[in-house]
């Protein structure tokens, strides 16, 4: 539905800017889908009144004037001589431009000094405005011109305007009209709705009854049909205002009478049809009769778009006594169309059953502005008003005389519906207090009649015929909501706090850790918090003051004692292969302060793989690299990178051999193999591998952000290096050299073999690495890879005393 700003302003006053209007409409449920500003003629030119005219102090031929522009007063310097105080003249305001002369740039008016005196605009001659009048000096306007009126409006030319394209929801057919939109604006602004006054002047003594009769055969499909006749019209082009108005909203101007029917439809939402009265057939000497009937099955009819259509007995027709003349509510017929020879016009204004119009429109694949409105539900109460309005405008634009009276076939006039609104229901639903008085005010502003207004409990609302959407109380509450403004309803947080404890996210992070570790094949254990102070690896633990037994006399300072207990329990029951982890709290003391810390620990013993009936390594038991593999995968998946491992030079109270795990300079945990005597104490036979990490530190250092690295599009070049190095040389030392040397385009380094024995001197080992090179944007050449790779190999030789084994 398209409307324009100026058209709306004819029915309701408001001083919102075009953008503010768009905002207000959107917020009351009329979404503005598009907004188009139309430049008008004489932009920035207004009707002004000359208040005083004096001589310019510095120039004889110039005058200094004070003029009223409708907003205030301005000082203007003028060179014309043909005017006096009291004259109405066109004034162009600073910032506006005079119409350009052919081949010239438009001239823009600025505030400036003329001979030392400021001039705030310019009074215009007709030549300057590009008007045909030949005047020496200013264009003097008629004395009754309204000061401040846009000059274009004074001339009846198209002024600037804004076209709004509105999305009308299907429940509000009343908004498919300019008056409907204006009514909403009236409701939110509180300014009254001004419907055009209908003055039909003196009608001819001939009454419409003598000219035509109406017979409704199917009152269910056509509950109301009105007819008026205007005689003696002159069909011709529409006046500019009518043509412009229609064209702005996208309706093609056809002729004055047809345009009027379209204009009234857009104005009030009631589709109308005009027939050429003399093309109606009647029995000789009789007035014609309009018959509203169903079509016969297979009846043919040519609509005014020239299409012949085959109808069914579900189609409602407007007919005369011998032929159909219109598809009711959808389109008129070619046979009675208004044409240039038309002299007498019959105006139809009716109401048709929406379901029937929808079905016919769909079946014939014929959608028109008229069917669109009828199928959504028209206003049965507005038929006569719309007919009068059309008559008025036809008389105004096409002349003629209106036959007196109206035929209004309306067998069962609609009764107005009443709905009760209980005021407390509004508050209950909206969650804000709105008083009974306010409710009533809002409903009245919407054009609804409200009785029993002073009752605190409820009011009775009479629903006008145009509001077909208001069916029950909840619909009224919706109206109050729109008027109150959804933006004014507060948005308190959901009842009961949501997401307001810092641990909530941590809980999920702990679950992540568990998920990764179980995914790796470890089973989750939950050990006792209370353990014995005699447990392995316990040095300092918080004792209980009142323990139940010496088995449970301290708080665990580590998860490892509990895991060792679990291993023992399993081994004693011949579960020889055990891989467990635990996520839990441990307790310690710091300067007399008790401290709780989250940890994750892993314990492995027994076979590396589940028992299988074949394979060379099926007897392999877990070693430290199994444990390290779990840790590496866990840390990477958990989002902790850059972890390093440093071997402790000596055995500890718990470990035969072990390493600390570091993140930068911070120690975050340890891993190692349990001392064999301790293993024996716990009845454990195979190597026992243990690791424990501070989970609080991992949570703090975790980074789970992921960004896709583009998948490589170019091939790699691989270079293998096998080198003999002293036993003391670590893998980390090799990597450090790679990091220092930074070979160009090196993508990855992979250790694929460590070998001792044949051809390797005692005290040395052979380490074999694969270096993979890749450029992200092109294929590398052997030569450039070799250059980078050789530098790296040189560094291995130099810094590691490596002997490169040629393969």
């Amino acid at each position: 539905m398209k409307v324009t700003l100026n058209w709306l302003k004819q029915y309701v006053e408001f001083d919102w800017s075009p953008d503010q209007l768009a905002e207000r409409l959107t917020m009351i449920g009329i979404e503005v889908e598009g907004m188009q500003k139309l430049g008008g003629e004489f932009e920035g030119v207004v009707v002004a009144e000359v208040l005083t005219r004096d001589k310019h102090p510095n120039a004889d031929r110039l005058s200094l004037c004070r003029v009223a522009d409708g907003q205030g007063e301005r000082q203007i310097v003028c060179g014309a001589q043909n005017f006096k105080a009291g004259d109405k003249v066109p004034l162009i305001l600073p910032g506006a431009s005079l119409p350009p002369k052919p081949g010239e740039q438009p001239f823009t008016i600025k505030i400036g000094k003329i001979r030392g005196v400021e001039s705030q605009g310019m009074l215009c001659s007709p030549q300057e405005l590009g008007l045909p009048d030949q005047v020496d000096g200013l264009l003097i306007l008629s004395p009754d011109a309204k000061v401040g009126q846009p000059f274009a409006e004074y001339l009846g030319r198209s002024a600037g305007d804004v076209v709004y394209d509105l999305e009308i929801t299907p429940n509000r057919p009343d908004l498919n009209s300019v008056v409907g939109i204006a009514r909403e604006i009236s409701a939110v602004s509180g300014n009254p709705l001004k419907l055009p006054e209908i003055q039909l002047g003196t009608s001819s003594p001939t009454s419409v009854d003598s000219l035509v009769a109406v017979r409704i055969d199917d009152a269910e499909l056509c509950p109301r049909y009105t007819a008026r006749v205007v005689r003696g019209v002159k069909i011709g082009p529409s006046p500019d205002w009518l043509k412009n108005t229609l064209e702005k909203v996208g309706i093609r101007s056809i002729s004055n009478v047809v345009d009027v029917t379209n204009y009234v439809m857009l104005e009030i939402g009631q589709p109308l049809h005009a027939f050429d009265y003399h093309l109606l057939t009647s029995a000789a000497g009789n007035r014609p009769t309009i018959v509203v009937r169903r079509a016969a099955e297979g009846e043919k009819f040519t609509t005014l778009d020239g299409q012949q259509r085959t109808l069914t007995n579900q189609t409602l027709l407007i007919a005369d006594e011998s032929k159909p003349i219109a598809l009711a509510g959808i389109m008129g017929g070619q046979n009675t169309e208004i044409n240039e020879k038309t002299v007498d016009v019959l105006i139809e204004s009716a109401y048709f059953k929406p379901q029937n119009i929808r079905a016919t429109s769909k079946k014939l694949e014929l959608r028109t502005e008229s069917s669109y409105r009828f199928e959504r539900g028209g206003d049965i109460g507005i038929c006569d008003w719309a007919s009068q309005r059309a008559a008025q405008l036809i008389l105004q634009t096409a002349g003629g005389q209106l036959a007196s009276g109206v035929i209004d076939a309306y067998p069962h006039p609609a009764t107005r519906k009443e709905i009760t609104l209980r005021h407390h229901k509004v508050c209950d639903l909206l969650g804000v207090r709105i008083s009974a008085k306010e409710n009533v005010k809002y409903l009245r502003q919407l054009g609804l009649e409200v009785s029993i207004e002073n009752a605190e409990e409820y009011c009775l609302v009479e629903v006008p015929t145009f509001r077909v959407d208001l069916k029950r109380e909840i619909d009224l509450i919706e109206e109050v909501t729109r008027m109150y403004g959804i933006e004014h309803i507060p948005a308190p947080p959901p009842r009961g706090a949501i997401g307001s404890h810092p641990y909530d996210a941590v809980h999920d992070e702990l679950a992540d850790a568990r998920r990764i570790l179980t995914g790796l094949g470890l089973n989750e254990a939950q050990g006792q918090t209370l353990v014995s102070d005699k447990s392995a690896g316990i040095e300092a633990a918080i004792p209980l003051a009142n323990p139940l037994s010496s088995d449970m006399n301290v708080l665990r300072p580590s998860l490892l004692p509990g895991l060792l207990d679990a291993l023992r329990h399993n081994l004693n029951r011949k579960n020889n292969d055990v891989a467990l982890f635990e996520v839990g709290r441990v307790f310690g003391q710091n300067n007399g302060q008790v401290r709780e810390e989250r940890r994750v620990a892993i314990a492995l013993t027994g076979l590396r793989h589940p028992s299988f009936w074949s394979g060379n390594d099926r007897e392999a038991t877990c070693d430290i690299y199994d444990l390290k593999g779990f840790l590496e995968e866990f840390l990477e998946q958990f989002g902790v990178r850059g972890v390093t491992y440093t071997r402790r030079p000596d055995s500890t109270a718990l470990y035969l051999e072990s390493a600390t795990i570091q993140l930068g300079k911070q120690t975050i945990g340890e891993l190692g193999q349990l001392l064999p005597p301790l293993a024996k104490r716990y009845d454990l036979r195979d190597a026992v591998l243990l690791a424990e990490l501070n989970l609080d530190l991992l949570l703090a250092r975790r980074n789970t952000a992921k960004t896709l690295k583009p998948l490589p599009a170019f091939p790699t070049i691989r270079r293998d290096v096998a080198m003999l190095v002293p036993e003391t040389t670590t893998h980390e030392a090799v990597l450090n050299i790679v990091r220092q040397t930074k070979p160009q385009n090196l993508e990855s380094v992979q250790l694929f073999d460590v070998f001792r024995g044949k051809n390797v001197p005692t005290g040395q080992k052979s380490m074999a690495y694969a270096f993979t090179y890749r450029h992200p944007e092109r294929t590398l050449t052997d030569a450039e890879v070799n250059a980078a790779h050789e530098k790296l190999v040189e560094q291995f030789k130099l810094q590691l005393q490596a002997a490169i084994r040629e393969s």
Binding site: L520, Q526, N570, R573, A579, G592
Partner: protein, 334 residues
């Protein structure tokens, strides 16, 4: 003998030999015998040149057709033999066990806790936690449990052997106090965690066990809200057929207080009608006053229950100690 009379028997012999080849090597041998440089078929083709001119086209056509036929038979047999060669010598025993990549299992108490947390989160609760080492104030006084209250008997509570009068919390309710001290209402939290009671371990007791606590504080919170929430959560946890019963009870930090019993086909199988499940009630105004909430404005409910108890009911576990032994045969069942 006409050319055709020679060709046809040779072709038939070649086809039979190709089909009879028992492996790929034999097939290649047969191919050589007929189609190789010295092959019988090749020899016959060479005779073409010696034929009278008028016989040549027909004979040539015959030879070509025969050659196409032989090659088709060769390819077909080769495909058959290649497929045969790819098969293992002995048929695979699909009933043998596969090489398993075992998935680790979450501890049953973790699984039950996660299920409870998931149910509560659906209705807007967040997870909160607090320290396990507590002071007497948060564990007792703030919860309206005065010093002479039987629940404060040191027979039931573990105290630490440190100079501070610290203790191991006997219930997760201490976290209610800590959370309310820190943040203003409304509050909607659940608190899973370990608690400690000085009970000797037996089939139904372990000095360490786990509870989950729910706390909801807002304006106009009612007993009806409590009942609705509890029913929702327990039906999610234990099944739609579960029936709940609220019995008046006493806890120092709620008023009124209730115990929640439940009934289900399983309970009836155990020969009982109702089984005790949880304690709950409306937060005592004194507790609100202790944390600086105005009990005239705010109301709330709290409830708590043992996680082991839910797990034992759900999985029909009859000894609480199994949870803390971590026997892999136990862990792998859930």
């Amino acid at each position: 003998m006409s050319f055709h009379d020679q060709l046809e028997p040779l072709k038939q012999a070649a086809l039979a030999d190709l089909r009879a080849a028992s492996d790929l090597a034999a097939l290649e041998q047969t191919k050589g015998n007929y189609l190789g440089a010295q092959g019988k078929f090749t020899a016959l083709m060479k005779q073409l040149g010696t034929l009278p001119k008028e016989e040549k086209p027909a004979a040539g056509k015959l030879v070509n057709q025969a050659k196409i036929e032989l090659e088709a038979a060769l390819n077909e047999r080769r495909a058959e033999l290649e497929l045969k060669a790819a098969l293992p010598k002995e048929p695979t025993d699909f009933t043998l066990p596969g090489r398993r990549r075992p998935l680790g299992k979450l501890h049953p108490l973790t699984q039950v806790t996660e299920d409870i947390v998931r149910s509560f989160r659906k209705i807007g609760f967040v997870v909160a936690d607090g320290p396990e080492i507590e002071d007497e104030y948060h564990c007792f006084d703030a919860l309206n449990t005065p010093a002479d209250h039987p629940a404060r008997d040191s027979q039931d509570t573990f105290y630490l052997g440190t100079p501070t009068k610290s203790l191991l919390r006997t219930h997760t309710s201490s976290v209610q106090i800590r959370v309310m001290e820190k943040q203003p209402p409304p509050i909607r939290i659940i608190v899973p965690g370990r608690v400690y009671r000085r009970d000797n371990a037996d089939a139904t007791h372990n000095p360490t066990f786990q509870q989950i606590e729910g706390l909801y504080v807002d304006k106009h919170v009612t007993v009806a809200d409590l009942k609705g929430t509890v029913e929702f959560v327990f039906q999610e946890l234990l099944g739609e057929e579960v029936k709940l019963r609220f019995r008046p009870h006493y806890f120092s930090y709620t008023e009124p207080s209730f115990e929640i019993d439940f009934s289900s086909p399983m309970v009836r199988k155990m020969g009982k009608e109702w089984l005790e499940l949880a304690g709950c009630g409306m937060v005592h105004p004194q507790v609100f006053e202790n944390v600086g909430y105005d009990p005239e404005i705010w109301s709330g409910w709290a409830f708590g229950f043992g996680i082991e108890r839910i797990a034992m009911l759900r999985y029909e576990i009859n000894d609480i100690r199994l949870f803390y032994e971590n026997d892999v045969r136990f862990l792998r069942q859930f």
